[in-house]
Every structure is written in C-alpha cells, then in structure tokens.
C-alpha cells in the first residue's frame, strides 16, 4: 500500500503539535509511509529538523503549511522550488500583518494561486446551513488552483463523524474537486494525547480539568497505521495521497549556495577579488615581505576557500568589518575560520596566527561540508550602527536575523505543566525552589520525582512524566542576538520572515542550527562591552598623546602585564576578573599570550568536570612529568602539556584515540552542543570509552574525557574563541597596567558591563594610585573624564591622572538636564545656588537630583541646605530684571549631615562614595572588635583562626563546585574571599543569604598567593548600619 500523510503539524505549531519533527519523521517511516508533509500553521520553522531526521531514510519529506481562514482549513504543499518560494512569501505576508506570533491570511492572497502550490481544502465544521459557504469557497479555490486543488477529508471519529464524511464526499463530487484523505496529525503516536491536552490547556491559559471541549475528544490525531487507514477510508482516497506526493519533488537541499554577489566589482571574479584584498592586507601586515611559511599557509587557505566556493562569505565579512573600521568601531572576529592568516590579512582579527604559533588545522572542515564559522564582536554601544549598515547594504528584503527557538526548560516546564494540571502556583514555586539543577549526581528530574512523597498521587506521577515529555518543546521564536542571514535573492523566498517583539525588527523562521544544516551563510554580529571600553581608552590616550593610538599600536608580550595578572590584579580586565579566574591567575602565572588562551578556557565547566585543571597545573609547575600515551595523542595535546583543555582537542581525541570517523566526530560535536536538551550523548560516551580501552588507554582517562564532554555541553568553549578573547584579555590588561585612570574612566563610561559595580571599579583605581574627584556641577561633564592634576604634584609621564566623576552617575538626573547645565555653565563656574538656578532652567527634579548627589557641595554649604534651597518656589526669578540683586540668601539654615549620613546619601544617589569606607567608620566606632582588615590577611599564616567583616558584594554557588558557596566581602582595604561549606551554609542560612554586612570567624587558607577564609561562624551585623545597602549579586 502507498500512503502519504499530507496534513501534519509538529510542535513548531506552538502549543498545538505534540511531537517533535524528527519523531514524526521516524514514526512515518516505521509505519511504511511513502511521504510525510510537515504542514505547521503558517510556518516552516520545523521543516529543517524534519529534513535532517529524514536524511538517511527512504521517506519523502514534503514542505507545506496549514492556514485557517474563516474557520476553513487550507493546507498548501510546495511541489517545487518556485512554489516553495511563493509559500515562504505568503507566510511572510501573513505574519508581517500581525504582531509577533500571530498571522492573518486573506482570500485575496490566494487569488494568484501561490506560485504553483498544491492546495488541500477542508471546509469549516459548521452547521448544515453553511454548506452554501463551503461550496462557494470550494468553487473559488478550484478556479484559483486549477488541477491543484483537493477536498481534504479527515475522519477523526468525533461526534457526527460518519454523517459528515458522507456529506463531504457528496460536496466534493458536486464541485468536481477530487477528494483526498488526511488525518490532521498533531502527534506521532496516540500516547501523546496527555501532552497534547496539556499543551491545549497551556495555550488557553487554563487547566485540563477546566478546558472542557477545547480538548480533543480522543487521540485520533496521530500517524495512523495502514490497517486503520484502510478501515476508515476508501482506497481511492488513500491512493490519491500517494499521487499528490508523487507530484512533489522539492528538497530543502536545493537552497544551498545562494550567497550575495554584489561585493565583487564588475569584470572581476570573487576569487580574484578576494585574492586582491588578501594581497593588499599582506602588505600592511607584513610590510617587510610575507615570510615563506605564511605565504604557504595563505595559499592553502585560499585553495580550500576556492574549493568550497566560500569566497563570497569572506568577502561579506570583510565588507562589514571594513565598514566598522571606517566608522572607528572596534571589532574582533572569532571562531575557527577567523583565526586564519586570510582573516588576519583582511583585518577581521588582530590575532596573528603565526606570532602566537597557533595554526589551526581545523580552518574549514572539508569533510563536513559545513559553512565556515566566524563571529564578529563589536562595541556594544555601536553594534546597532553595524546592523543598520547591513540592512542598508543588502536591503531588508535580503538580510534578516536568525531566530532563537525558545524551548521548555526545567522551570518553565514545571510551571506550565503544573498549572495545566491545576496545581497551585505557590506549590509549584515551592517545588522549583527545592530543585537543585546543578546536582549532577541526582538530575533534577529525579529529584522532582521524589518530591511527591513515598507514594505519589497519580496526578503527581503524571506531572513528572509530562514535565519530562515537554522539555525541549519549542514555545516561541525569538530573535537571535546577532546572527544575520544574507541572501542573494529576496530572503522571504528562501525562508519566511516574521515580526519580532522589538519594533522594526524581523526574524526568519529558522535558527542557527537550521541554517548551518542547510549550509546557508550567516554572519554573527555580536556586541561586547569590553570593546567599547577599549576604544574609549584608546580615544583618551590619543587625546592625551596627540596622535592616534590604535589596537595594533599596543606593545605585545609586555612582562609587566603578565606580572600584574599573575598577582590576580585583574579587576576590570576582560574575562579574567571573576573570582574564579582571580584565584586561577596566581596558580597559572601566565607568562605569554598562549597562557592567556588557556587561562580563559580552563576555568570552565568542561576542564573542571573533566578534572583536567590540576593535572595541567602540576605539569606546568614541573611536578608531574609530561607524557603522551601515543604519538597521535601527542600531536593533539602537545600544546596543552598532554592534558585536554579545549573542545576541539576532545573531538580530535575521539578520532585519534577512540577511532571515531570524521562523521561520527561531527555528530559528537553536535550532540555535545545539544546534550543538555537531549541527553543523546550517552551513546557516544560509551563508544568513546570502548574505543579508548580497545586501543589501550586507561579507563580513568577515558571516563574523565566523558565528564569533560558533559561539561562542554553545558558551556562549550573552543580554542578558536579563547584565542580571540585572550587577545582582548591582554589588551585590557595592558591598558589597566599602564593607564589605570583612563582605563577605569572608560569602563565607567561603558556601563553597564563587566563583573563589578562602578563603586568597586573606583575603589580599585584608587588602590592603584588614581585620584578620583567627586561629581561636581562646575567640573563634571556627562561622562566621566580625566583632569590634569594640580601642578604641585604633577607626575612626569602621565599628567592626566585624576579621574573626575561624571554627571551620568547621578540617579534621577536627566541627560537633557545635565547637558543644559553644562551648556549654561560660566567659564568660571557657577558661584552660588541661586545664580545657578537663575542661569539654567532645570526641572525641579533635576535640581533635586544634583543637590542630593552632592554635586552642588562646591557652591553650597552642604547637600541638605542645597536641597532645601532648590526645592523652594522662586517666582521672583522670573520677574526681576537684575537677578543678582533679587537673590537673597535663604534665612533658614539646616544642620549639616554627619559623615555617615553623607556616605549613605552618596550611595543612595550615585551608588558610589569617595568618602571613607563604611567598614572604616564601623571599625572606628569599635563595633568590629578583633576583626582584621583584608590587607592584614596576607600576613597571616595558613590555618590561623581569623575574624573579618565586610560588605557582601557577591554570593555565588558555582555549578562546578557543588556544595560550596563563595562569598566576597569588601572592607576599606580590599576584598576578602570566603568559602562557605554546605554544612556551615545550612546551619547559618539566614546570615548567609540575607546579610548586607557580615562578620565572619573562620580559618585562613593559603595556597601560594591565593587566600581564602573558610567560614565557621557567620554573623549578620547589617543592623549596625542597616540603611546602607550595597547592591549584591546574588546566586546566579
């Protein structure tokens, strides 16, 4: 028997379809279907996944979509590329008419026949009186879709099913529209009925108990067996499905290689043009002539690019980067292909692959036939300019953002399924609060199962099963952070385009993986705060020296920079400023660029879970011998002393040590990326262990590699990205080391970014000898700035050392108000509150914000008085022609704030205080008996009992160190790192979780220069100063 299911939605018809596309494909194949059409509602978002699943199966996949119009169901199928383009265009039209997630089809849209699409028409299931209407619609459609229109009959055994079936047959005969059968498939197997009901309840924001007739009456919307089909439909109808399938021969693989071509000048070929650009770049990069080795590498790379026909791709990236450079927008490429000599010559990256002795074998993988991977980071404040350029250059019809599929995760699954089962919301919150998703020994789903008690109620068991089932179900499409697709023809003929939530933004219906699978070109235009900060620092330095300072002008491999980093002096430095990185720096003691590449990659779940960190450190310190189990392994691991650190190495190991083929290794890489969603990785892990044991490797080593693979799944970090990041680590560290004031100033002007608050960045700068001046209406600009120091203590090499805080720091001050204030500022500055008020008309709240922040302290007695004076109505200002005469001092004198109140007001109104640290005040008041300062801890010995106190600036429970909470305290002399073990945390949870100021007794531990206090007794002493609140980063 031949049968093709022509009406089938997947879970990409969000909250309707109850099966993944690949489940549908596999089931259709098992049942012996000839073909399967995926016809999601006004969408093709699921077809690529179906297409991938079908790859090795003898099952034809038909691309289509269903639409609802006046309750009639219309299914369109694409027989060829042209029809597919028309279908995509139609979907785009319907989607663009409506807000995100909605669509609207109109009859007129169909009048032209949708480019040869085949149409299946199933009239609305309405009372007999509407027969007229159904017939009229049928007639019209038949005229619009000549020889391409069918009457879709679907027997779902609902109320009145058999009568309706007969009636429909009669109607189709009356109009001469051939009937065909379908099954309105929503799930691959009837077992999904429960989930389908739950999805319906979620979609309608109700529970299954209350959803009533909105739920399907039965489970018949599944892929049916031949036996059942034959029982329900006459043979002609079944044969007709096969005949229709026969007419469809469009395959998604036809979409390859539709790259934009206009960047190539007329009369030249893409190949020639790229070669020309590379050669021009060589002259800049290698002014003394290209070394022979480099030339060989360039020739090789160009050859591969040519073979794969990727010239247009490199030209496109080059064009975007060229635009950014022309606008002085800092950018930096990363990814395997980015770290090539070609990209270095095209200025896509500043990493010189040769200087750092880092030639990637995996430049482009020919076997895998996948497009090259280049992400480009831009300054975060200016990325929008680049995006706008892309839209301008290629037009909105040809450039679009890739989608991100938002899918069910633990939290959303528990919440939505629970609500759909009628569970109380606070109960669900309670359940969620008790799940530890980082516990690798006991996965959260297993934890959830045990929370129903020893004998869980049946509904609870169903709840757990349904939560597991709904995981990874897509919920909606969102826009990808920066993945652009650029096509040769109109984008909407390649893939439908729909509205994003953000105004004037559109997204395509496919995500990055889909694009990658189809081999479509995508360019990742990402934003990076550190690039903004670096560019601003370079601008300050250029201004200071009077000549432009560029990225490439920064001296490389400066020992002072490495010395600084080795001391964990890295606040503000890209990537290595977190507490975990800070405690790694003194152990790893980076001495050269490649050490930074490792530093960036090693404090990640992969190497940590694989237990690779300590072996690496031991080998680096010469404590452990560097050896390799085989020559093949040596080649892979030599640059990391025999210890696998990077994702690429692990994949390569699978090939050389466990006998994976190239294709299998590629599957492993994909499975790794999807591990958390699918858990498919187990089969590869087993294969890896077996393969390695077979080849004589040790079990322990093999198992550690397996754990590392899981870690990479959580947060993959390839060497190619680490290499690009490491360069920014070096550059930002160099700036911090040699120009701390300019660097801090630029970091503050680029907020929000990074790990630390402005207050912490400022304190760090102060500790490095930078003079920081308060925000002042007579001296501050909107941005933070550098001021020449007073002539008395001018330092020879760096005259711009004082950092003046800017008005942007003031909470509640509008930018417009600040600009008006600066505009009207006399050369000699404002002399008094009343004069300022007279010259400059700001809103009452702007004045109040200025006064509250202490920005008027230089012209008033103190902030209380300034606020008092500024709040008064001053009608007389308008009337009097000679304001100075009219201005009389306010007779009322308010008392001045004390130091503590001043500090509080500073924090409250600017988040920063230049006064003494609160802990210094408390210490002076004698409320911290016996407590040591952070700086005194360096003099303590290992194992000593110490008492410390500080503001809690950070609490963290990293997934890589289960059971431990890391707390960072800050006092007037620096940071104190606490380690709180689980038992301690449990016993003193309240103090740990709720305190703003903690006093701690504990044991000091030191390992080299890394000092921790292992907490014993925690005491919340916030009451000693309860008005003071420092923003604390809680568990993340």
């Amino acid at each position: 028997m031949q049968y093709a299911e022509l009406h089938c939605i997947s879970n990409f018809s969000f909250l309707r379809g109850a099966s993944h596309p690949d489940e549908l494909v596999k089931r259709a194949h098992e049942l012996g279907y000839q073909a399967l059409a995926i016809t999601d509602e006004c969408s093709v978002a699921g077809v690529v996944r179906a297409w991938e699943a079908r790859r090795d199966l003898p099952l034809k996949l038909i691309v289509g979509a269903e639409f609802y119009l006046d309750d009639h169901c219309l299914v369109l199928l694409a027989p060829d590329r042209q029809a597919y383009a028309a279908l995509c265009a139609l979907i785009s039209t319907c989607r663009r008419r409506c807000e995100k997630g909605q669509y609207e089809l109109r009859w007129d849209d169909l009048a032209e026949g949708v480019g040869g699409c085949l149409l299946l028409f199933r009239p609305a299931n309405s009372p007999a009186s509407d027969t007229e209407n159904a017939l009229a619609c049928g007639k019209r459609l038949k005229a619009w879709f000549p020889q391409r229109c069918w009457w879709l009959l679907e027997r779902l055994l609902e109320n009145g099913d058999d009568g309706r079936f007969q009636q429909q047959i009669r109607q189709s005969r009356m109009l001469g529209i051939p009937p065909v059968c379908g099954n309105d498939v929503h799930m691959h197997h009837p077992d999904r009925q429960r989930l389908q009901d739950v999805l319906t309840a979620i979609r309608l924001r109700t529970s299954v108990q209350r959803a009533g007739f909105a739920l399907a009456a039965n489970a018949e919307r599944h892929l049916r067996s031949f036996r059942k089909l034959q029982h329900l439909y006459p043979d002609e109808l079944l044969q007709e499905t096969a005949a229709i399938a026969e007419r469809c021969h469009f395959d998604l693989s036809e979409l390859r290689y539709e790259y934009p071509a206009e960047l190539v000048p007329e009369g030249s070929s893409a190949k020639q043009h790229l070669l020309g650009l590379v050669m021009a770049g060589q002259k800049v990069r290698y002014p003394d002539g290209t070394p022979e080795q480099v030339q060989r590498q360039i020739d090789y790379e160009l050859k591969v690019i040519g073979e794969m026909q990727y010239e247009h791709y490199f030209l496109t990236i080059h064009d975007i980067v060229r635009f950014a450079r022309a606008q002085q927008i800092l950018c930096q490429g990363r990814g395997s292909a980015a770290n090539s000599v070609v990209c270095y010559c095209l200025h896509i990256t500043e990493v010189d692959p040769l200087k750092v002795n880092l030639l990637f074998e995996r430049f482009i993988s020919k076997e895998r036939n996948e497009p090259p991977d280049i992400d480009v980071d831009f300054e975060h404040e200016r990325r929008e300019e680049v995006i706008q350029y892309i839209y301008r250059q290629y037009g909105r019809e040809r450039a679009g953002l890739a989608a991100t599929v938002i899918s069910y995760r633990a939290k959303s699954a528990v919440r939505d399924v629970g609500k759909a089962l009628g569970m109380d919301e606070s109960y669900l919150t309670w359940l969620l609060s008790r799940l530890d998703r980082r516990d690798h020994e006991n996965p959260w789903l297993a934890q959830l199962a045990t929370m129903g008690g020893d004998e869980p109620a049946p509904i609870y068991q169903q709840f757990v099963a349904l939560v597991a089932e709904i995981l990874d179900f897509p919920r909606h499409l969102s826009q990808h952070v920066g993945g652009f697709v650029i096509s040769a023809g109109p984008l909407s003929e390649l893939v439908p385009v729909e509205n994003a939530a953000m105004k004037d933004r559109t997204v395509i219906q496919w995500n990055k993986d889909d694009l990658e699978a189809l081999g479509l070109l995508k360019v990742d235009v990402l934003s990076l705060g550190m690039l903004t900060a670096i560019r601003k620092t370079l601008d300050l330095l250029s201004e200071q020296t009077g000549k432009p300072v560029r990225l490439q002008d920064i001296p490389r491999e400066d020992p002072a920079v490495y010395a600084m980093l080795s001391q964990a002096d890295s606040i503000g430095v890209f990537q290595v400023e977190s507490r975990a990185q800070m405690s790694m720096l003194p152990r790893l003691k980076p001495q050269r660029y490649y050490d930074l590449v490792i530093e960036v990659a090693i404090v990640r779940p992969g190497p940590i879970q694989g237990d690779m960190v300590h072996p690496y450190l031991r080998r680096r310190d010469g404590i452990e011998a560097v050896d390799y189990p085989s020559e093949a392994v040596k080649e892979v691991l030599e640059r990391t002393l025999g210890v696998p650190i990077f994702q690429e190495q692990v994949i390569k190991l699978a090939m050389v040590a466990a006998g994976f083929t190239g294709g299998e290794a590629d599957q492993l890489r994909r499975a790794m990326a999807a591990w958390r969603r699918t858990g498919y990785i187990r089969q590869y892990q087993q294969k890896l262990v077996d393969g390695m044991l077979e080849r004589g490797y040790e079990l322990d080593f093999a198992q550690r590699i397996c754990r590392q693979i899981e870690g990479f799944g959580e947060y993959g970090f390839p060497e190619s990205h680490a290499a690009s990041f490491a360069l920014l680590v070096y550059i930002s560290a160099w700036l911090k080391c040699h120009h701390p004031a300019a660097f801090c100033c630029s970091l503050l002007n680029s907020q929000p970014m990074g790990f630390y608050t402005p207050a912490q960045l400022i304190q760090d700068a102060q500790r490095h000898g930078v003079t920081v001046l308060p925000v002042d209406l007579n001296a501050s600009g909107w941005d933070h700035s550098l001021e020449p120091r007073s002539p008395v203590d001018t330092l020879p090499e760096d005259q711009y050392r004082s950092l003046r805080l800017g008005l942007r720091l003031i909470k509640g001050l509008s930018k417009r108000g600040a600009e008006a204030l600066i505009e009207a500022r006399p050369a000699t500055g404002y002399q008094s509150v009343s004069q300022a008020r007279q010259r400059c008309r700001l809103s009452r709240s702007d004045w109040d914000a200025l006064a509250a922040a202490g920005a008027m302290n230089s012209i008033s007695e103190h902030r209380y008085q300034a606020r008092w004076e500024l709040l008064a109505d001053t009608p007389w200002l308008e009337l009097d022609s000679d304001p100075v005469a009219a201005i009389h001092d306010d007779p009322i004198r308010l008392a001045a704030p004390d130091e503590q109140s001043d500090l509080e007001e500073d924090f409250r109104n600017t988040g920063v205080s230049l006064g003494r640290h609160p802990l210094a005040l408390m210490r002076e008041q004698g409320v911290l008996p016996r407590c040591l300062k952070a700086e005194q801890l360096t003099e303590c010995r290992h194992g000593q009992l110490v008492h410390v106190a500080g503001l809690v600036t950070n609490r963290q429970r990293p997934g890589t160190a289960s059971g431990v909470t890391f707390v960072t305290l800050e006092d007037e002399s620096g940071q104190i790192n606490l380690v709180v073990w689980q038992a301690t945390a449990k016993a003193q949870r309240r103090a740990l979780l709720a305190a703003n100021i903690l006093q701690v007794s504990g044991v000091l531990e030191r390992e080299g220069e890394v000092i921790h206090v292992v907490a014993g007794r925690l005491q919340d002493i916030s009451f000693q100063w309860d008005a003071l609140k420092v923003k604390s980063r809680d568990f993340r």
Binding site: A217, S426, L871
Partner: protein
Amino acid sequence: MNRLATERESLWLYLHFSQLALEAQQLEAGIAGLLDTRGQKLELCSYDAVQAGLEPGMAIATAFSICPEVELFHPNPERVQQQLEALALWAGSFSAQVVLYPPEGLLLEVASMLDYFGGLNNLWQQMEQRLKRLGFQVRYATGHTPLAARLLARAGRSLVIEGRASHRQVLQMLPLSQLELPAKQQDQLRGMGLLRLEQLHALPRDAISSRFGVKLLDYLDRLEGRRPDPQVLFEPPPIFQQFHEFSREIEHSLALLFPLRRILEALAGYLQRRELLAQQLILTLVERDGGHQQHDIGHASGSADDETWLELCKLRLEQVKLQQPILALQVEVERFKTSQQQSYDLFDSQRHAEDPMDLLSRLQVRLGEAAVQPVTLCADHRPEQSWQLKQHPQKAVDNATMPLPKGRPGWLLKSPQRISQHQLPPHIELKTGPERISSGWWDAQQVRRDYYIARWADGRHGWLFRDAQGGWYLHGWFG
C-alpha cells in the same frame, strides 16, 4: 479624679493589627507567612516564622530553603475585612464609637468611656486581657487626635496616656518616615536631614508649604488637632451572623474551637453594645462534599458572655465525630433577648420578606442540600462528567450558550449497563458511529470508548458503547 464632661479632652485609642492579613487566615499559631500579590515574596511572617529566621520581603525560594515547613497563604482581602469587622463588633465592649481603618486598624473613641470603666488604665487593662485571648498581634496607642493615635500605634509606641500636652510631647519625636507621605516627599525630607516631627516644627509654615505643598500642612494640622478630622463610625449589622471559611480543611472537631473563640468574642462585643443576651446559637459546619451539619446550642436564660458560650459549644463539639473534613463555620444567633427579658424569634420578624433565593437557601438548609438541586451542563467530553448538580460550579457552563452535542440521548443512565462481552445481541442494530471518546486521564475516571446509536428490534433507539476491552454497554435512551 472627676472631670466635667464639657471639659473633657478628646481621647482616641488606635489598635493596629499588624499581622491581620496573615492571622485572619491562620487556624493556629505556627510558622506561617503571607505572600505578596504576585506570590513571589513574603509580605508578612508570623511570630514563629520570624523565630525560624524568616522575614518580610524574603523571596519565597529563600524562605523555603531556610524553613521548608513554612505554611504560606495568599492574600485574601475579603477574609481580612470580615475579620476586621468582627473585631469592630468585639470592640463594642469598650466603646460605642468605633471606626474601621481597613485593612488592619480600628480606632476607638475612649474619652466618653473613661467614667464607665473607671479611668483609662482600667479600661486598658480589661482590653489588654481580652486582646490576649483573641491572639492577634497588636500595636496600640492613644492620641489626642485620631491621626495621632493611628501614627503612634503604627510606629509601635504601645502608649496609653491621657492629655493633649503629653501626646504632643511624644509626637515631637515621631520619625517623619512614619507619616503617610508620598515616597518622593519622604525621600526629600530625609535628604535634607529632616528626620523627626520636631524638626519640621522648627521651620516656618510658609517655607514648608512652598516646598511640600499645603497638603502636608493640612496633614500636620489634623495630626495635632489644629484642624477637625471627622470620622465615619462603624455601624454594627442588625443581625449577628459570622461566617468563617478556613484556609484548609479541619479534621478534628476541637480544632474548631480556635476560630470559634474569635467569633464568640465578637458576639460578646456585639451583645454588650446592643444590650442584648443571646438565647440560642446555630452553629453550622460546612463539609467537604457540600453537606452541612447544624447544631443548635441554647442557653435558657440568655447570656452575653463569650466564655459561657464557648463552654457550651465545646461541650457540643466534643460529642461530634466528623465524617468529613470541615471547610467553613457559621455562627448565627437564633434567639435574642433584651436585658429586659423580652425574647423574640428572628424568623418571626417582618424583615424577612421572602425572596425566591432566600426560600431556596432556607429550603436547602431545612431539607438538606441533597434534596433540592438544580442541574447544569458541563464542558467535558465524558458523558458522565457532562452534567452535574449545581454544587461545584467550577466547570458549569451557561445552559443557554452551551452547545448540546448532537446525537446525545436525553436520558442518560446513572451508570452504563453491561450488555455483552464482544458480540452484540442480534436484536440490536448499530446505526451510526463510532464516536470515539478518549479523555479524562487526569482524574480517576478516564474513559476510552466507541459510542454508537443503535436500534432495538422493538424500535427503541439506544446509545451504547464498546470499551477498550471490547465489552458492550448501554448508556442512554433516545426519547
């Protein structure tokens, strides 16, 4: 110390039941918290909860991680209002002039009660004793103006004094943050170092009004009695009826005593205020399945004393064995008598002009719920679940708009009757079908059936189905 009535200064007492939103829902003391309206943070914590380390403002997840056994309640403003009104009735024992300050405050005029109680201290001592029995956390203060009493109470001053001058003195030290001012104004006052009322007093009135507006001056004037501040008095209802729906089911009859005590305390206040005695109470317990248990409790000579009534109720409840958990409790007074011994029956009174719904509810009370019940249709695919008695209206749909599925019989059998296993008898002929119904997996009544309309040899049409095991059942008849 006798004062002339004309000279008497006004004196108010304010009771601030700071935890009422939580305590009104709690059935007994314990670790409990009230959630905010978004259900994410703790708004209030019981005394025991604070001892266990919880505090208001804490995220629910933090609260659970500190104290997994905490009992959480969602805000239930209706219940709180009910409880506040009950407290106002209770306060009738101490003052004839009671003012409601929802959601959690009561203001009592006490100047006119001083003679009756023999001075403020005596009044307070008696009140404090009674308050303790109620078991609500309370902050209190006297004031020479309503606002003064309210602010001092909310500030937790626990103040019971007389005299305008002494109150003024205390007010001087009142933190300005206690004033009910807009957040922005609070912020500005603090931002000028103005922290206490006395600091504001030191400033000229026009300087204040030009910065903060006349509204602030008005407010201060009402606070200090320079401006009248008329109050709307609480009027007790003509009948005494208190209904308490519990936040969870009660399984032991004696556990009812805690909520009952609070109701009877309110009764005592009600009776005293109106100079009445109660002769008979009706205690109604609402059971889980919707049934009611009614207990008539009488006191031959009548009593206004809550302890007496509590004792009587206790005696009765000790004999009661609960068949089902109790969801709610109602107390109403069936017979009153005035202190002049004149008794009358509530049901004789003319007030009860008959309204059909009243009749229905009284029929239900008298004949029992089960005897009088309307039928409604429900949105459910399962025939057994597609109608119900109007007891649990969650899924009931409007009869007028409900589409009656075609091909359903008017007469549904109470439960399906087995016809045969596998083979259908020859006298039954299937006409239409199947209609497959497979639904209800979420409760214990899942069905998987194929329904048919069939014709019997004698011409009757029946509705029958085959279940997943192949058995045939009759489920209804067509008219």
